[in-house]
Symmetry: C2
Subunit: 251 residues, 2 copies
Amino acid sequence: MLHPLSVCGTIGPMSTSPGAPALGIRATARREVTARIRAEGRRQLASEGAAGLSLRAIARELGMVSSAVYRYVPSRDALLTELILESYSALADVAEAANASVPDQDDLEARWRAVWRAIRGWAFAHPHDYALLYGSPVPGYRAPQDTVAPASRVTGSFAALLVPLATAGGSVPVPVAVPESLSASLESTRAFVGEGVPDDLLLRGLMAWAGMFGAISFELFGQYEGAFADRDTYFDYVIDQWFVLLGGPPA
Amino acid sequence: MLHPLSVCGTIGPMSTSPGAPALGIRATARREVTARIRAEGRRQLASEGAAGLSLRAIARELGMVSSAVYRYVPSRDALLTELILESYSALADVAEAANASVPDQDDLEARWRAVWRAIRGWAFAHPHDYALLYGSPVPGYRAPQDTVAPASRVTGSFAALLVPLATAGGSVPVPVAVPESLSASLESTRAFVGEGVPDDLLLRGLMAWAGMFGAISFELFGQYEGAFADRDTYFDYVIDQWFVLLGGPPA
DNA sequence: AACAAAGCAGAGCGGTGCTCTTGCTTCCCC
DNA sequence: GGGGAAGCAAGAGCACCGCTCTGCTTTGTT
Protein backbone atom coordinates (compact mmCIF):
# COMPACT_ATOMS: atom_id res chain seq x y z
CA MET A 1 0.00 0.00 0.00
CA LEU A 2 2.35 2.66 1.22
CA HIS A 3 5.87 2.76 0.11
CA PRO A 4 7.95 2.81 3.28
CA LEU A 5 10.52 5.24 2.00
CA SER A 6 7.99 7.77 0.88
CA VAL A 7 6.55 7.95 4.36
CA CYS A 8 9.90 8.00 6.05
CA GLY A 9 11.06 10.79 3.86
CA THR A 10 8.33 13.00 5.23
CA ILE A 11 7.94 12.08 8.89
CA GLY A 12 11.22 10.33 9.46
CA PRO A 13 13.51 13.33 9.87
CA MET A 14 10.94 15.12 12.02
CA SER A 15 10.95 12.34 14.55
CA THR A 16 14.68 12.36 15.13
CA SER A 17 15.68 14.22 18.23
CA PRO A 18 17.95 17.24 17.63
CA GLY A 19 20.86 15.77 19.51
CA ALA A 20 20.77 12.53 17.56
CA PRO A 21 23.75 11.79 15.33
CA ALA A 22 21.98 12.96 12.15
CA LEU A 23 20.72 9.70 10.77
CA GLY A 24 20.51 9.52 7.02
CA ILE A 25 17.33 8.95 5.10
CA ARG A 26 18.22 5.32 4.82
CA ALA A 27 18.77 4.78 8.52
CA THR A 28 15.58 6.53 9.60
CA ALA A 29 13.65 4.67 6.96
CA ARG A 30 15.04 1.44 8.30
CA ARG A 31 14.01 2.42 11.79
CA GLU A 32 10.54 3.33 10.71
CA VAL A 33 9.96 0.12 8.80
CA THR A 34 11.43 -2.03 11.56
CA ALA A 35 9.21 -0.35 14.11
CA ARG A 36 6.19 -0.83 11.92
CA ILE A 37 6.97 -4.52 11.45
CA ARG A 38 7.31 -5.03 15.17
CA ALA A 39 4.10 -3.12 15.83
CA GLU A 40 2.17 -5.20 13.34
CA GLY A 41 3.74 -8.34 14.76
CA ARG A 42 2.66 -7.34 18.24
CA ARG A 43 -0.82 -6.72 16.97
CA GLN A 44 -0.99 -10.18 15.43
CA LEU A 45 0.51 -11.75 18.50
CA ALA A 46 -2.10 -10.13 20.71
CA SER A 47 -5.04 -11.07 18.52
CA GLU A 48 -4.07 -14.45 17.09
CA GLY A 49 -1.44 -15.77 19.45
CA ALA A 50 2.08 -16.94 18.77
CA ALA A 51 1.04 -19.34 16.03
CA GLY A 52 -0.71 -16.53 14.21
CA LEU A 53 2.46 -14.53 13.94
CA SER A 54 3.27 -14.69 10.26
CA LEU A 55 5.84 -12.64 8.41
CA ARG A 56 3.82 -13.05 5.25
CA ALA A 57 0.76 -11.62 6.93
CA ILE A 58 2.82 -8.74 8.29
CA ALA A 59 4.13 -8.01 4.83
CA ARG A 60 0.65 -8.19 3.39
CA GLU A 61 -0.69 -5.82 6.00
CA LEU A 62 2.15 -3.40 5.49
CA GLY A 63 1.82 -3.46 1.74
CA MET A 64 5.17 -4.98 0.99
CA VAL A 65 6.20 -8.25 -0.49
CA SER A 66 7.07 -11.06 1.88
CA SER A 67 10.74 -11.24 0.98
CA ALA A 68 11.17 -7.57 1.81
CA VAL A 69 10.42 -8.22 5.46
CA TYR A 70 13.49 -10.39 5.69
CA ARG A 71 15.63 -7.28 5.16
CA TYR A 72 14.51 -6.10 8.57
CA VAL A 73 13.88 -9.29 10.50
CA PRO A 74 16.22 -12.26 10.25
CA SER A 75 13.47 -14.82 10.76
CA ARG A 76 10.07 -15.38 12.24
CA ASP A 77 11.52 -16.85 15.40
CA ALA A 78 13.84 -13.88 15.83
CA LEU A 79 10.90 -11.50 15.70
CA LEU A 80 9.02 -13.69 18.15
CA THR A 81 11.99 -13.59 20.50
CA GLU A 82 12.11 -9.81 20.36
CA LEU A 83 8.42 -9.58 21.13
CA ILE A 84 8.85 -11.98 24.03
CA LEU A 85 11.63 -9.86 25.45
CA GLU A 86 9.41 -6.81 25.14
CA SER A 87 6.68 -8.66 26.99
CA TYR A 88 8.99 -9.63 29.84
CA SER A 89 9.99 -6.03 30.20
CA ALA A 90 6.40 -4.85 30.05
CA LEU A 91 5.38 -7.28 32.79
CA ALA A 92 8.37 -6.30 34.90
CA ASP A 93 7.45 -2.65 34.49
CA VAL A 94 3.91 -3.37 35.61
CA ALA A 95 5.08 -5.31 38.66
CA GLU A 96 7.63 -2.72 39.69
CA ALA A 97 5.18 0.12 39.20
CA ALA A 98 2.65 -1.67 41.37
CA ASN A 99 5.24 -2.17 44.07
CA ALA A 100 6.27 1.47 43.97
CA SER A 101 2.70 2.71 43.95
CA VAL A 102 2.12 1.61 47.53
CA PRO A 103 2.39 4.77 49.66
CA ASP A 104 3.61 3.09 52.83
CA GLN A 105 6.57 1.01 51.68
CA ASP A 106 6.71 -0.59 55.13
CA ASP A 107 3.32 -2.18 54.49
CA LEU A 108 4.61 -5.43 53.08
CA GLU A 109 1.20 -6.98 52.71
CA ALA A 110 0.01 -4.06 50.61
CA ARG A 111 3.04 -4.34 48.37
CA TRP A 112 2.62 -8.09 48.09
CA ARG A 113 -1.00 -7.72 47.08
CA ALA A 114 -0.29 -4.89 44.69
CA VAL A 115 2.41 -6.79 42.85
CA TRP A 116 0.43 -9.98 42.39
CA ARG A 117 -2.78 -8.24 41.46
CA ALA A 118 -0.84 -6.33 38.85
CA ILE A 119 0.76 -9.46 37.46
CA ARG A 120 -2.58 -11.24 37.27
CA GLY A 121 -4.17 -8.20 35.69
CA TRP A 122 -1.48 -8.05 33.05
CA ALA A 123 -1.86 -11.76 32.37
CA PHE A 124 -5.55 -11.41 31.67
CA ALA A 125 -5.04 -8.29 29.62
CA HIS A 126 -2.41 -10.00 27.48
CA PRO A 127 -3.23 -13.71 27.60
CA HIS A 128 -1.19 -14.63 24.55
CA ASP A 129 1.85 -12.83 25.82
CA TYR A 130 1.46 -14.49 29.20
CA ALA A 131 1.14 -17.89 27.58
CA LEU A 132 4.36 -17.18 25.76
CA LEU A 133 6.21 -16.28 28.95
CA TYR A 134 4.80 -18.78 31.42
CA GLY A 135 3.04 -21.40 29.34
CA SER A 136 4.52 -24.23 27.41
CA PRO A 137 7.31 -23.25 25.06
CA VAL A 138 6.13 -22.32 21.59
CA PRO A 139 6.07 -25.26 19.21
CA GLY A 140 9.18 -25.46 17.13
CA TYR A 141 10.64 -22.50 18.88
CA ARG A 142 13.29 -22.64 21.57
CA ALA A 143 13.74 -19.61 23.78
CA PRO A 144 17.33 -18.46 23.42
CA GLN A 145 19.49 -17.67 26.40
CA ASP A 146 18.64 -13.97 26.03
CA THR A 147 15.29 -14.50 27.69
CA VAL A 148 16.84 -15.41 31.03
CA ALA A 149 17.88 -11.89 31.99
CA PRO A 150 14.57 -10.12 31.26
CA ALA A 151 12.68 -12.94 32.94
CA SER A 152 14.73 -12.47 36.06
CA ARG A 153 13.59 -8.86 36.25
CA VAL A 154 10.04 -10.05 36.85
CA THR A 155 11.26 -12.54 39.37
CA GLY A 156 13.31 -9.83 40.98
CA SER A 157 10.34 -7.64 41.86
CA PHE A 158 8.93 -10.66 43.66
CA ALA A 159 12.20 -11.69 45.26
CA ALA A 160 12.76 -8.16 46.51
CA LEU A 161 9.94 -8.70 48.97
CA LEU A 162 11.57 -11.70 50.59
CA VAL A 163 14.34 -9.74 52.29
CA PRO A 164 12.07 -7.31 54.16
CA LEU A 165 9.80 -10.26 54.93
CA ALA A 166 12.74 -12.00 56.56
CA THR A 167 13.64 -8.99 58.71
CA ALA A 168 10.21 -7.50 59.47
CA GLY A 169 8.25 -10.70 59.66
CA GLY A 170 8.56 -13.53 62.06
CA SER A 171 9.67 -16.95 61.07
CA VAL A 172 8.04 -19.15 58.45
CA PRO A 173 5.02 -20.94 59.93
CA VAL A 174 5.06 -24.74 60.10
CA PRO A 175 8.62 -25.01 58.82
CA VAL A 176 9.90 -28.26 57.38
CA ALA A 177 13.46 -29.38 57.93
CA VAL A 178 15.61 -28.57 54.92
CA PRO A 179 17.78 -31.45 53.69
CA GLU A 180 21.49 -30.77 53.65
CA SER A 181 21.95 -31.33 49.92
CA LEU A 182 19.04 -29.05 49.06
CA SER A 183 20.37 -26.25 51.22
CA ALA A 184 23.74 -26.53 49.56
CA SER A 185 22.31 -26.31 46.06
CA LEU A 186 20.48 -23.06 46.74
CA GLU A 187 23.51 -20.80 46.43
CA SER A 188 22.56 -19.06 43.22
CA THR A 189 19.07 -18.38 44.50
CA ARG A 190 20.48 -17.06 47.76
CA ALA A 191 22.77 -14.75 45.82
CA PHE A 192 19.89 -13.56 43.64
CA VAL A 193 17.49 -12.80 46.48
CA GLY A 194 20.01 -11.25 48.83
CA GLU A 195 21.46 -11.80 52.25
CA GLY A 196 19.54 -12.50 55.39
CA VAL A 197 16.91 -14.88 54.05
CA PRO A 198 16.92 -18.22 55.82
CA ASP A 199 16.69 -21.39 53.79
CA ASP A 200 13.17 -22.33 54.74
CA LEU A 201 11.87 -18.91 53.71
CA LEU A 202 13.87 -19.12 50.51
CA LEU A 203 12.34 -22.45 49.66
CA ARG A 204 8.85 -21.42 50.57
CA GLY A 205 9.44 -18.37 48.42
CA LEU A 206 10.19 -20.65 45.50
CA MET A 207 7.01 -22.54 46.27
CA ALA A 208 5.02 -19.33 46.48
CA TRP A 209 6.50 -18.18 43.19
CA ALA A 210 5.41 -21.35 41.42
CA GLY A 211 2.15 -21.40 43.34
CA MET A 212 1.11 -17.89 42.37
CA PHE A 213 1.98 -18.35 38.73
CA GLY A 214 0.38 -21.77 38.85
CA ALA A 215 -2.84 -20.22 40.10
CA ILE A 216 -2.78 -17.58 37.38
CA SER A 217 -2.04 -20.19 34.72
CA PHE A 218 -4.74 -22.54 35.97
CA GLU A 219 -7.24 -19.73 35.92
CA LEU A 220 -6.17 -18.42 32.52
CA PHE A 221 -5.79 -21.78 30.81
CA GLY A 222 -9.09 -23.13 32.07
CA GLN A 223 -7.90 -25.72 34.57
CA TYR A 224 -9.89 -24.06 37.34
CA GLU A 225 -12.98 -24.06 35.14
CA GLY A 226 -16.02 -24.49 37.30
CA ALA A 227 -14.09 -24.86 40.54
CA PHE A 228 -15.32 -21.55 41.93
CA ALA A 229 -17.38 -18.67 40.70
CA ASP A 230 -15.88 -15.68 42.47
CA ARG A 231 -12.52 -15.55 40.75
CA ASP A 232 -11.29 -12.21 41.99
CA THR A 233 -12.07 -13.08 45.59
CA TYR A 234 -10.38 -16.45 45.22
CA PHE A 235 -7.22 -14.90 43.88
CA ASP A 236 -7.13 -12.32 46.64
CA TYR A 237 -7.55 -15.16 49.10
CA VAL A 238 -4.62 -16.98 47.53
CA ILE A 239 -2.53 -13.83 47.74
CA ASP A 240 -3.32 -13.44 51.42
CA GLN A 241 -2.69 -17.11 52.15
CA TRP A 242 0.72 -17.00 50.62
CA PHE A 243 1.59 -13.87 52.51
CA VAL A 244 0.76 -15.63 55.73
CA LEU A 245 2.55 -18.81 54.72
CA LEU A 246 5.66 -16.76 54.05
CA GLY A 247 5.59 -15.47 57.60
CA GLY A 248 4.36 -12.02 56.70
CA PRO A 249 3.59 -9.81 59.71
CA PRO A 250 -0.13 -9.44 60.42
CA ALA A 251 -1.68 -6.05 59.78
CA MET B 1 4.87 -48.54 1.26
CA LEU B 2 2.49 -51.13 2.58
CA HIS B 3 -0.98 -51.31 1.31
CA PRO B 4 -3.19 -51.11 4.41
CA LEU B 5 -5.74 -53.57 3.22
CA SER B 6 -3.21 -56.19 2.31
CA VAL B 7 -1.92 -56.22 5.84
CA CYS B 8 -5.31 -56.08 7.40
CA GLY B 9 -6.51 -58.99 5.37
CA THR B 10 -3.84 -61.12 6.95
CA ILE B 11 -3.53 -60.00 10.52
CA GLY B 12 -6.82 -58.17 10.89
CA PRO B 13 -9.11 -61.11 11.53
CA MET B 14 -6.59 -62.71 13.87
CA SER B 15 -6.68 -59.74 16.19
CA THR B 16 -10.41 -59.70 16.72
CA SER B 17 -11.47 -61.30 19.95
CA PRO B 18 -13.67 -64.39 19.55
CA GLY B 19 -16.59 -62.84 21.32
CA ALA B 20 -16.58 -59.77 19.12
CA PRO B 21 -19.64 -59.23 16.94
CA ALA B 22 -17.96 -60.63 13.82
CA LEU B 23 -16.61 -57.51 12.22
CA GLY B 24 -16.37 -57.64 8.47
CA ILE B 25 -13.11 -57.45 6.65
CA ARG B 26 -13.79 -53.84 5.91
CA ALA B 27 -14.48 -52.88 9.50
CA THR B 28 -11.39 -54.59 10.84
CA ALA B 29 -9.31 -52.99 8.13
CA ARG B 30 -10.65 -49.64 9.10
CA ARG B 31 -9.77 -50.33 12.70
CA GLU B 32 -6.26 -51.35 11.83
CA VAL B 33 -5.57 -48.30 9.73
CA THR B 34 -7.13 -45.96 12.27
CA ALA B 35 -5.02 -47.47 15.00
CA ARG B 36 -1.91 -47.14 12.91
CA ILE B 37 -2.65 -43.49 12.18
CA ARG B 38 -3.14 -42.78 15.86
CA ALA B 39 0.04 -44.64 16.75
CA GLU B 40 2.07 -42.71 14.22
CA GLY B 41 0.46 -39.48 15.41
CA ARG B 42 1.40 -40.30 18.98
CA ARG B 43 4.94 -40.96 17.87
CA GLN B 44 5.17 -37.61 16.16
CA LEU B 45 3.55 -35.88 19.10
CA ALA B 46 6.09 -37.37 21.47
CA SER B 47 9.09 -36.52 19.35
CA GLU B 48 8.16 -33.23 17.70
CA GLY B 49 5.43 -31.82 19.90
CA ALA B 50 1.94 -30.71 19.05
CA ALA B 51 3.06 -28.42 16.25
CA GLY B 52 4.90 -31.30 14.61
CA LEU B 53 1.76 -33.36 14.34
CA SER B 54 1.08 -33.42 10.61
CA LEU B 55 -1.40 -35.58 8.78
CA ARG B 56 0.74 -35.33 5.67
CA ALA B 57 3.73 -36.64 7.58
CA ILE B 58 1.62 -39.45 9.00
CA ALA B 59 0.47 -40.38 5.53
CA ARG B 60 4.02 -40.25 4.24
CA GLU B 61 5.24 -42.47 7.03
CA LEU B 62 2.43 -44.94 6.54
CA GLY B 63 2.95 -45.10 2.80
CA MET B 64 -0.36 -43.63 1.81
CA VAL B 65 -1.31 -40.42 0.13
CA SER B 66 -2.31 -37.52 2.30
CA SER B 67 -5.91 -37.40 1.22
CA ALA B 68 -6.40 -41.02 2.23
CA VAL B 69 -5.81 -40.16 5.87
CA TYR B 70 -8.89 -37.98 5.85
CA ARG B 71 -10.99 -41.09 5.35
CA TYR B 72 -10.08 -42.11 8.90
CA VAL B 73 -9.52 -38.83 10.68
CA PRO B 74 -11.84 -35.88 10.20
CA SER B 75 -9.13 -33.29 10.72
CA ARG B 76 -5.78 -32.64 12.29
CA ASP B 77 -7.36 -31.01 15.34
CA ALA B 78 -9.69 -33.94 15.83
CA LEU B 79 -6.74 -36.31 15.93
CA LEU B 80 -4.95 -34.00 18.34
CA THR B 81 -8.01 -34.00 20.57
CA GLU B 82 -8.11 -37.78 20.62
CA LEU B 83 -4.45 -37.95 21.54
CA ILE B 84 -4.97 -35.42 24.30
CA LEU B 85 -7.80 -37.49 25.71
CA GLU B 86 -5.57 -40.54 25.63
CA SER B 87 -2.89 -38.59 27.48
CA TYR B 88 -5.30 -37.51 30.19
CA SER B 89 -6.30 -41.10 30.70
CA ALA B 90 -2.70 -42.27 30.72
CA LEU B 91 -1.77 -39.72 33.37
CA ALA B 92 -4.83 -40.60 35.42
CA ASP B 93 -3.89 -44.28 35.20
CA VAL B 94 -0.39 -43.49 36.40
CA ALA B 95 -1.65 -41.42 39.31
CA GLU B 96 -4.23 -43.98 40.38
CA ALA B 97 -1.77 -46.82 40.09
CA ALA B 98 0.71 -44.94 42.26
CA ASN B 99 -1.98 -44.33 44.84
CA ALA B 100 -3.01 -47.95 44.86
CA SER B 101 0.56 -49.20 45.01
CA VAL B 102 1.03 -47.95 48.57
CA PRO B 103 0.66 -51.01 50.80
CA ASP B 104 -0.64 -49.19 53.84
CA GLN B 105 -3.57 -47.18 52.53
CA ASP B 106 -3.81 -45.42 55.87
CA ASP B 107 -0.42 -43.85 55.29
CA LEU B 108 -1.65 -40.68 53.70
CA GLU B 109 1.77 -39.14 53.38
CA ALA B 110 3.03 -42.15 51.44
CA ARG B 111 0.07 -41.98 49.12
CA TRP B 112 0.51 -38.23 48.68
CA ARG B 113 4.15 -38.65 47.81
CA ALA B 114 3.53 -41.58 45.51
CA VAL B 115 0.89 -39.75 43.51
CA TRP B 116 2.88 -36.59 42.98
CA ARG B 117 6.10 -38.37 42.24
CA ALA B 118 4.26 -40.39 39.64
CA ILE B 119 2.70 -37.32 38.06
CA ARG B 120 6.04 -35.55 37.91
CA GLY B 121 7.69 -38.64 36.52
CA TRP B 122 5.08 -38.92 33.81
CA ALA B 123 5.49 -35.23 32.99
CA PHE B 124 9.20 -35.62 32.42
CA ALA B 125 8.76 -38.83 30.50
CA HIS B 126 6.18 -37.21 28.20
CA PRO B 127 7.02 -33.49 28.17
CA HIS B 128 5.06 -32.72 25.03
CA ASP B 129 1.99 -34.47 26.29
CA TYR B 130 2.27 -32.68 29.60
CA ALA B 131 2.63 -29.34 27.84
CA LEU B 132 -0.54 -30.14 25.95
CA LEU B 133 -2.47 -30.91 29.11
CA TYR B 134 -1.14 -28.30 31.52
CA GLY B 135 0.69 -25.76 29.40
CA SER B 136 -0.81 -23.00 27.37
CA PRO B 137 -3.54 -24.09 25.00
CA VAL B 138 -2.25 -25.07 21.58
CA PRO B 139 -2.24 -22.15 19.19
CA GLY B 140 -5.21 -22.17 16.91
CA TYR B 141 -6.68 -25.11 18.73
CA ARG B 142 -9.33 -24.87 21.39
CA ALA B 143 -9.87 -27.83 23.63
CA PRO B 144 -13.43 -28.99 23.17
CA GLN B 145 -15.69 -29.70 26.08
CA ASP B 146 -14.80 -33.38 25.89
CA THR B 147 -11.51 -32.77 27.64
CA VAL B 148 -13.16 -31.71 30.87
CA ALA B 149 -14.24 -35.17 31.96
CA PRO B 150 -10.89 -36.97 31.41
CA ALA B 151 -9.06 -34.07 33.03
CA SER B 152 -11.20 -34.39 36.11
CA ARG B 153 -10.09 -37.99 36.49
CA VAL B 154 -6.55 -36.77 37.15
CA THR B 155 -7.85 -34.17 39.51
CA GLY B 156 -9.96 -36.81 41.17
CA SER B 157 -7.03 -38.96 42.24
CA PHE B 158 -5.69 -35.88 43.97
CA ALA B 159 -9.00 -34.78 45.40
CA ALA B 160 -9.58 -38.26 46.78
CA LEU B 161 -6.83 -37.61 49.29
CA LEU B 162 -8.53 -34.55 50.74
CA VAL B 163 -11.35 -36.45 52.42
CA PRO B 164 -9.13 -38.79 54.47
CA LEU B 165 -6.91 -35.80 55.18
CA ALA B 166 -9.88 -33.99 56.66
CA THR B 167 -10.84 -36.91 58.88
CA ALA B 168 -7.46 -38.37 59.82
CA GLY B 169 -5.49 -35.16 59.96
CA GLY B 170 -5.91 -32.22 62.23
CA SER B 171 -6.97 -28.83 61.04
CA VAL B 172 -5.24 -26.78 58.40
CA PRO B 173 -2.27 -24.92 59.89
CA VAL B 174 -2.33 -21.12 59.91
CA PRO B 175 -5.85 -20.89 58.53
CA VAL B 176 -7.07 -17.70 56.92
CA ALA B 177 -10.63 -16.56 57.29
CA VAL B 178 -12.70 -17.52 54.25
CA PRO B 179 -14.82 -14.69 52.84
CA GLU B 180 -18.54 -15.37 52.70
CA SER B 181 -18.89 -14.97 48.94
CA LEU B 182 -15.95 -17.27 48.28
CA SER B 183 -17.34 -19.98 50.50
CA ALA B 184 -20.67 -19.77 48.72
CA SER B 185 -19.12 -20.13 45.29
CA LEU B 186 -17.32 -23.36 46.18
CA GLU B 187 -20.31 -25.63 45.84
CA SER B 188 -19.28 -27.52 42.74
CA THR B 189 -15.83 -28.13 44.15
CA ARG B 190 -17.33 -29.32 47.40
CA ALA B 191 -19.55 -31.69 45.51
CA PHE B 192 -16.63 -32.98 43.48
CA VAL B 193 -14.32 -33.63 46.40
CA GLY B 194 -16.91 -35.07 48.70
CA GLU B 195 -18.47 -34.38 52.06
CA GLY B 196 -16.63 -33.55 55.23
CA VAL B 197 -13.96 -31.24 53.89
CA PRO B 198 -14.02 -27.81 55.52
CA ASP B 199 -13.74 -24.74 53.36
CA ASP B 200 -10.26 -23.76 54.40
CA LEU B 201 -8.92 -27.21 53.54
CA LEU B 202 -10.83 -27.14 50.28
CA LEU B 203 -9.27 -23.83 49.36
CA ARG B 204 -5.81 -24.83 50.40
CA GLY B 205 -6.32 -27.96 48.38
CA LEU B 206 -6.98 -25.82 45.32
CA MET B 207 -3.81 -23.90 46.13
CA ALA B 208 -1.83 -27.10 46.51
CA TRP B 209 -3.21 -28.37 43.26
CA ALA B 210 -2.08 -25.28 41.38
CA GLY B 211 1.12 -25.15 43.40
CA MET B 212 2.20 -28.68 42.61
CA PHE B 213 1.45 -28.40 38.92
CA GLY B 214 3.03 -24.96 38.95
CA ALA B 215 6.21 -26.45 40.37
CA ILE B 216 6.24 -29.20 37.75
CA SER B 217 5.60 -26.71 34.97
CA PHE B 218 8.25 -24.31 36.20
CA GLU B 219 10.75 -27.12 36.34
CA LEU B 220 9.79 -28.57 32.99
CA PHE B 221 9.45 -25.30 31.12
CA GLY B 222 12.71 -23.88 32.42
CA GLN B 223 11.44 -21.18 34.77
CA TYR B 224 13.34 -22.73 37.67
CA GLU B 225 16.49 -22.82 35.57
CA GLY B 226 19.48 -22.30 37.81
CA ALA B 227 17.44 -21.79 40.96
CA PHE B 228 18.62 -25.03 42.52
CA ALA B 229 20.71 -27.97 41.48
CA ASP B 230 19.17 -30.87 43.33
CA ARG B 231 15.87 -31.09 41.51
CA ASP B 232 14.60 -34.35 42.88
CA THR B 233 15.27 -33.34 46.43
CA TYR B 234 13.60 -30.00 45.88
CA PHE B 235 10.48 -31.61 44.51
CA ASP B 236 10.31 -34.08 47.37
CA TYR B 237 10.66 -31.14 49.72
CA VAL B 238 7.76 -29.39 47.99
CA ILE B 239 5.65 -32.53 48.26
CA ASP B 240 6.35 -32.76 51.98
CA GLN B 241 5.70 -29.08 52.54
CA TRP B 242 2.32 -29.26 50.91
CA PHE B 243 1.39 -32.30 52.88
CA VAL B 244 2.13 -30.39 56.07
CA LEU B 245 0.36 -27.27 54.86
CA LEU B 246 -2.73 -29.34 54.17
CA GLY B 247 -2.75 -30.48 57.78
CA GLY B 248 -1.52 -33.95 57.05
CA PRO B 249 -0.85 -36.02 60.15
CA PRO B 250 2.85 -36.37 61.02
CA ALA B 251 4.40 -39.78 60.55
C1' DA C 1 -23.69 -61.05 -11.84
C1' DA C 2 -24.88 -56.31 -10.67
C1' DC C 3 -24.65 -52.60 -7.58
C1' DA C 4 -23.55 -49.38 -4.00
C1' DA C 5 -20.43 -48.30 -0.59
C1' DA C 6 -15.78 -47.71 0.72
C1' DG C 7 -11.17 -46.61 -0.39
C1' DC C 8 -7.25 -44.89 -3.02
C1' DA C 9 -4.46 -41.75 -5.97
C1' DG C 10 -3.72 -37.44 -7.77
C1' DA C 11 -4.39 -32.72 -8.73
C1' DG C 12 -5.35 -28.52 -6.77
C1' DC C 13 -6.28 -24.29 -3.55
C1' DG C 14 -4.55 -21.25 -0.30
C1' DG C 15 -1.50 -20.76 3.35
C1' DT C 16 3.36 -20.83 5.74
C1' DG C 17 8.88 -19.83 6.21
C1' DC C 18 12.64 -18.86 3.66
C1' DT C 19 16.08 -18.18 -0.46
C1' DC C 20 17.76 -16.43 -4.67
C1' DT C 21 18.07 -13.44 -8.61
C1' DT C 22 17.22 -9.08 -10.83
C1' DG C 23 17.08 -4.44 -11.17
C1' DC C 24 16.99 0.02 -8.92
C1' DT C 25 18.16 3.68 -5.37
C1' DT C 26 20.75 5.73 -1.96
C1' DC C 27 24.95 6.45 0.28
C1' DC C 28 29.79 7.33 0.85
C1' DC C 29 34.33 8.14 -0.58
C1' DC C 30 37.71 9.45 -3.78
C1' DG D 1 31.01 15.45 -9.58
C1' DG D 2 31.47 10.57 -10.58
C1' DG D 3 31.68 5.79 -9.50
C1' DG D 4 31.62 1.84 -6.62
C1' DA D 5 29.47 -0.31 -2.60
C1' DA D 6 25.77 -1.18 0.01
C1' DG D 7 20.80 -1.32 0.84
C1' DC D 8 16.32 -2.26 -0.87
C1' DA D 9 11.91 -3.96 -3.38
C1' DA D 10 9.96 -7.24 -6.26
C1' DG D 11 9.14 -11.63 -8.00
C1' DA D 12 9.83 -16.38 -8.74
C1' DG D 13 10.64 -20.52 -6.55
C1' DC D 14 11.22 -24.52 -3.04
C1' DA D 15 9.34 -27.36 0.43
C1' DC D 16 6.01 -27.80 3.72
C1' DC D 17 1.17 -27.54 5.75
C1' DG D 18 -4.43 -28.53 6.05
C1' DC D 19 -7.97 -29.70 3.36
C1' DT D 20 -11.11 -30.65 -0.88
C1' DC D 21 -12.63 -32.53 -5.13
C1' DT D 22 -12.59 -35.64 -8.97
C1' DG D 23 -11.98 -39.87 -11.01
C1' DC D 24 -11.12 -44.77 -10.64
C1' DT D 25 -10.63 -49.32 -8.28
C1' DT D 26 -11.68 -52.56 -4.88
C1' DT D 27 -14.81 -54.71 -1.93
C1' DG D 28 -18.88 -56.76 0.26
C1' DT D 29 -23.49 -57.61 -0.35
C1' DT D 30 -27.82 -58.55 -2.59
